[in-house]
């Protein structure tokens, strides 16, 4: 494989890593039954806060911690509004989306376009020398490794561990889980806040690693992309990570195509992610796919369904009726 292609693939991996982190975070909250719709605002505000904290303190850890704190705080507001006050999580999340956007613009106004700290490269000895795989996955920085480990850990935790079973039960059959002694309400709080903290880390990862620095609206739109990827990923961290990588690949492809066909307007390429978002959501939850599968040969039905169709946790956004 030529080195240019490998360089592109490595940059796709880097670009997709924050999305993977955000998708894992949101998958955790939604698996527990709470929709945190505030991702776009959360990521903007945590990207700004993470950068400013890192810039002022000179410490990356402080930057990421600040981003995580912002994310956890926003998620706590969503959880509190939804679980304690029984307000629509969508309404609270949407207001926070807008609020995070304007807060990041206001609070970050004196910190735009400054050079800041960057997560350093951390090649892993031996592994980095594996042909092809090495440069793509193991010649990266700590944030990328964190994203990959997080993806694997979340998958194992949600689907293979005992606490993960309780987490899923809170999102699938809360009444039954409650009757079995699972503290549904508490779990929903905990996972929403942890998920929010991860989204905050993802925001900080943009301003401290992928695209250093802060400018108004720097990550605008990515939170919504992450929310769509959670659906595309069928609420599984692995499939979600795949979605994030595919999104990164599409963007990289657009950049390459743009260079190859300069006569095509830039606009066509900007439209790509959003057009793709509609198509992908149509494919995984649409009625077309249902019809396609119904007409498929019987032997193909099951694999096709597993591949194409996803279903949200049964009690996503549904209140727990205690007693």
């Amino acid at each position: 494989m030529d080195s240019q292609l490998i360089a592109i693939l490595a940059s796709i991996m880097l670009q997709a890593s924050p999305l993977i982190i955000a998708v894992c975070g949101e998958t955790l909250s939604e698996r527990a039954g709470v929709v945190n719709l505030s991702l776009d605002g959360t990521m903007l505000l945590s990207a700004m806060t993470g950068f400013v904290a890192g810039y002022l303190s000179g410490s990356l850890i402080v930057g990421f911690a600040a981003g995580a704190a912002v994310g956890a705080f926003f998620a706590l507001i969503v959880a509190f509004g939804h679980l304690a006050l029984r307000q629509s999580a969508v309404a609270v999340g949407f207001v926070l989306t807008l609020l995070g956007d304007s807060l990041s613009a206001f609070l970050g106004q004196d910190f735009t376009r400054l050079p800041g700290p960057k997560v350093p490269k951390l090649p892993i000895p031996i592994l980095k020398d594996i042909p092809i795989v090495g440069p793509i996955f193991f010649n990266q920085d700590a944030m990328v490794y964190f994203a990959l480990l997080l993806m694997a850990f979340c998958y194992w935790y949600i689907f293979k561990s005992r606490p993960g079973l309780e987490l899923r039960s809170a999102g699938e059959r809360p009444e039954a889980a409650f009757a079995r002694g699972v503290p549904v309400r508490r779990l929903r709080y905990v996972y929403t806040v942890i998920g929010g903290a991860l989204v905050g880390i993802a925001g900080a990862a943009y301003s401290l690693d992928v695209k250093i620095g802060w400018s108004e609206g720097a990550t605008r739109g990515l939170g919504w992309i992450a929310l769509a990827i959670v659906i595309f990923g069928g609420w599984s961290p692995l499939r979600g990570a795949l979605g994030a990588l595919m999104f990164g690949a599409t963007k990289a492809l657009a950049t390459v195509l743009q260079r190859t066909f300069p006569e095509v307007s830039v606009v066509a390429f900007n439209a790509l992610p959003w057009g793709l978002m509609i198509l992908v959501l149509l494919a995984v939850s649409g009625k077309f796919t249902g019809r396609l599968i119904a007409n498929a040969p019987p032997r193909l039905k099951r694999p096709l369904r597993q591949l194409l169709q996803v279903a949200p946790p049964a009690a996503l956004g549904v209140e727990l009726k205690e007693g």
């Binding site: 719709l37 507001i77 509190f80 509004g81 006050l85 029984r86 307000q87 969508v90 309404a91 609270v92 949407f94 207001v95 926070l96 807008l98 609020l99 956007d101 304007s102 807060l103 613009a105 206001f106 106004q109 739109g221 919504w224 929310l227 769509a228 659906i231 307007s265 606009v267 066509a268 900007n270 439209a271 959003w274 057009g275 978002m277 509609i278 959501l281 149509l282 939850s285 649409g286 009625k287 077309f288 205690e322 007693g323």
Partner: protein, 363 residues
């Protein structure tokens, strides 16, 4: 129980005042006196008749969008795509404005109709996607971004000013294409008439029509609406088209009066703002115009604030956003107290012992 009555009466002001207090703290942290800042906002809106008319000119498209949202919310739909519908309305009106030159009344009628049609078209796409399984939030959001990209494409491509010009806007429309304005302001009395008519139509439709009732049934309880013979697909599509038409009208008014050409940030978030307006008004019809005016005033005043204090004008968005958040969370004392009680009751029925530790604060 009597002791609570007065509290319940003044309670609605508590979230509002808390939002003001929080914004004041933010201002203090940035070394600006809240008195000066809010004074600047006030002056920016009310100091001269021209400025008041400017706030009104901002208010009208916002009111039109919010009126449309009342319909979709009634049907239980989250029409986040309204931002794109608004933009499409502006595009439709601009298209007529740039390609035709007719006598003013005919020209303006066609522009407005094109705006309405384009807004409804974009809403129709979102409704269709919903029918095919894409939630209206995600479909609408993608369509919003596509609308922005389409605007940029038109400005940079087919509708580019002949002299090559900037990427920021088209050539100014000819005089007959712009709504008749009052004096040197951006306020058009015709748009006020249109907005009043549209809002009246929404109130009538929601309060006094069978359609409004069907939408309500659909929004409150889709299952029983279905049993009553309400076709959710049909009503949802109609509600979306209606909302899109109003948002499109708003976009047309915006581009034909506030601006005189198509600009990149033609909406500037008015659609999203309209969602906040309806939420802050807690879906009460007659509150919507008032809340919309309050928003228009704060956001217009923030521009004066930015000019005077160098503070970012997003302060206005923060104030309104925090206000909506607090009202959503704490706006209804009955709800908060009622929930507490209901939960206690259900808990004590289940687990009498666990309840004792937390009960004394009640009653």
């Amino acid at each position: 129980m009597k002791g609570w009555a007065w509290l319940e009466r003044i309670w609605p002001s508590v979230p509002i005042l808390s939002a003001l207090a929080l914004t004041s703290l933010l201002l203090l942290a940035f070394g600006t006196s809240p008195v000066v800042a809010f004074g600047a906002i006030w002056e920016g809106v009310f100091s001269t008749p021209e400025r008041m008319l400017t706030a009104l000119a901002f208010w009208i498209p916002l009111l039109l969008s919010a009126a449309g949202l009342l319909v979709t919310f009634q049907a239980g739909l989250w029409n986040i795509g309204i931002e794109g519908q608004f933009i499409l309305g502006a595009l439709g009106a601009s298209w007529v404005a740039l390609s035709l030159h007719l006598p003013a009344p005919l020209q303006i009628t066609l522009e407005i109709l094109a705006g309405i049609a384009a807004g409804a078209l974009w809403a129709g796409v979102a409704a269709l996607l919903k029918r095919w399984g894409v939630h209206e939030i995600f479909g609408g959001l993608a369509l919003n971004n596509l609308a922005i990209i389409l605007t940029n494409y038109l400005i940079a491509g087919p509708w580019q000013p002949p002299e090559g010009g900037s990427f920021r806007g088209t050539v100014p429309f000819h005089e007959d294409a712009i709504l008749p304005l009052l004096g040197s302001t951006r306020f058009s009395p015709l748009s006020l008439v249109l907005a009043a008519f549209a809002f009246g139509l929404v109130v009538l439709a929601l309060r006094n029509s069978a359609w409004g009732l069907r939408l309500k049934a659909l929004g409150r309880n889709p299952r029983s609406a279905f049993l009553l013979g309400v076709s959710s697909n049909r009503e949802a599509l109609l509600a979306m088209l209606f909302c899109g038409a109003l948002a499109g009208l708003g976009g047309a008014v915006r581009v034909l009066s506030w601006f005189d050409s198509l600009r990149q940030s033609i909406s500037g978030g008015i659609g999203y703002l309209a969602l906040l307006v309806v939420m802050l008004a807690a879906f009460r019809l007659l509150w919507v115009p008032l809340v919309a005016f309050f928003f228009a005033a704060v956001l217009n005043g923030s521009i004066t604030l930015q000019l005077r204090t160098q503070l970012h004008s997003s302060l206005g968005d923060i104030l309104t956003g925090v206000m909506v958040l607090f009202v959503l969370l704490f706006g209804d004392p009955l709800r908060m107290r009622g929930l507490r009680k209901a939960r206690k009751a259900s808990l004590s029925a289940d687990r009498p012992k666990a309840d004792e530790a937390t009960s004394p604060e009640e009653s």
